[in-house]
């Protein structure tokens, strides 16, 4: 309980730091710490799956992207970035509008007993789902449709990022000059371990916290480490093949979703008896494509340095 209070107080303080700090570095640093503390909150709420995902995304991916953006931004601008509030009037209005917190908190606390939710129902049907871990059962069977379109969102995000580059990722925009011996050695050592770990997470998801997405993020980390240390060939050799790998997750979900129609079932009705195996195949495909997506995202974030449009800056 004391730990809970500590976590909660830290979370509020960190969110206020994000709001009030003038220096951009403090904002980003607080946000990263915020993500780590949030991991504690998830464990405290008995949600180890979330803790894993948060560690992978909040602690890993977003940190990477934010720090990268921090390095990208102009240091003079970052310190004078304009804090909160810009004007006194704005500050007062903002604080006044915090009054909405009262009904919101009241709604959460005083709204009467929280409903039992779907926990008992999931428990009752879990045997039919093909997996033993309840969260995986919900994600990959009961609410298969959500996860299917979650994968589509990732795919669309990658396509969306390409609009900003207008071309497929190429090696020249990756940070070069990093072919350092120590780093290369470390990458060689680390990436196989990471890949092994991602396979472990994937396999584990069937009966315990873990699963396709977490596994995919770890795989993505391994591939990103490789891409950043000079082994980016796998991204470049064939755009069509790497695109195919990226779409693998959506393709897997679509296949598993559509195939039952052939057998005369409903959309996304995983065949009984085969549900577990279908889920494993779909998860493997999803993990592979998530893993491939992350270096793709990383590369797509880079603004090609040689294409500075200075004319727009001056106008």
């Amino acid at each position: 309980m004391i730990l809970d209070w500590l976590v909660v107080v830290l979370l509020v303080i960190l969110s206020l730091t994000i709001l009030l700090a003038r220096d951009l570095f403090w904002v980003v640093a607080s946000f990263i710490t915020f993500g780590l503390v949030l991991t504690l909150a998830w464990s405290s709420l008995q949600a180890p799956d979330l803790a894993l995902a948060e560690a992978a995304i909040g602690g890993g991916l977003m940190t990477l992207f934010l720090i990268d953006s921090l390095g990208f931004s102009d240091p003079e601008q970052t310190s004078s970035a304009g804090g909160f509030p810009i004007t006194k009037l704005q500050g007062l209005t903002a604080l006044g509008s915090m009054i909405v917190a009262v009904p919101l908190l009241r709604a959460f606390w005083a709204g009467g007993a929280v409903s039992p939710g779907l926990g008992p129902l999931v428990e009752q049907k879990i045997e039919l789902s093909g997996v033993e871990h309840p969260v995986s059962a919900v994600l990959l069977n009961f609410r298969f449709f959500d996860t299917w379109f979650e994968m589509t969102v990732i795919l669309l995000a990658i396509v969306a990022l390409q609009t900003l580059r207008g071309r497929t990722p190429r090696g020249d925009s990756l940070p070069s000059g990093q072919s350092d011996q120590v780093l290369t050695w470390f990458a060689r050592l680390l990436s196989p371990v990471l890949i092994l770990f991602s396979v472990y997470l994937l396999w584990r998801g069937k009966h315990a916290p873990g699963g396709a997405f977490q596994s995919g993020v770890v795989l993505g980390a391994a591939l990103s480490v490789l891409a950043l240390t000079g082994y980016q060939d796998f991204l470049l050799r064939s755009p069509v093949v790497s695109r195919l790998v990226v779409t693998l997750g959506v393709v897997g979900f679509s296949g598993a979703g559509l195939f039952p129609l052939v057998l005369g079932g409903e959309l996304a009705e995983l065949p009984s008896g085969w549900a577990g195996d279908t889920i494993l195949i779909v998860e493997t495909m999803a993990a592979l494509s998530t893993g491939m997506s992350i270096p793709y995202l990383l590369v797509a974030l880079q603004v090609p340095k040689d294409k500075v449009q200075c004319e727009e800056r001056t106008s």
């Binding site: 991916l61 992207f65 929280v114 309840p134 959500d146 669309l156 800056r313």
Partner: protein, 103 residues
């Protein structure tokens, strides 16, 4: 106060802090960070809803929703980040034009 109530309330407060930041902070990177804070607030509320105190089985559905939500929110904020970076790169400012006039 049970830990559900505690974390749920915190989630709502964090959501509002993030909302405030998104609207009032001019710097684009800060705006995006604040949106992520907002999202974390919502997810905390959801997790608190799913966490049943002693005796009852935990509800996995909110957890699954959070997992989906985290990924979806991440995809959007990575895109927002890339867009903001490109705007900063091309205009020279991490600001929307209307905020640039204010500063």
């Amino acid at each position: 106060m049970s830990s559900s109530a505690l974390f749920g309330g915190t989630g709502i407060i964090i959501f509002l802090v993030g909302l405030l930041g998104t609207f009032s902070l001019p710097h684009l990177l800060k705006k995006i960070v604040c949106i992520n804070v907002m999202g974390s607030g919502v997810f905390l509320v959801l997790a608190a809803v799913g966490n049943k105190d002693v005796g009852a089985t935990n509800d996995p559905v909110p957890q699954a929703m959070i997992l989906t939500g985290i990924v979806v929110a991440m995809a959007s904020s990575v895109f927002a980040l890339a867009l903001a970076r490109q705007i900063a790169h091309r205009s020279g400012f991490w600001l929307l034009p209307e905020d640039r006039e204010k500063l």
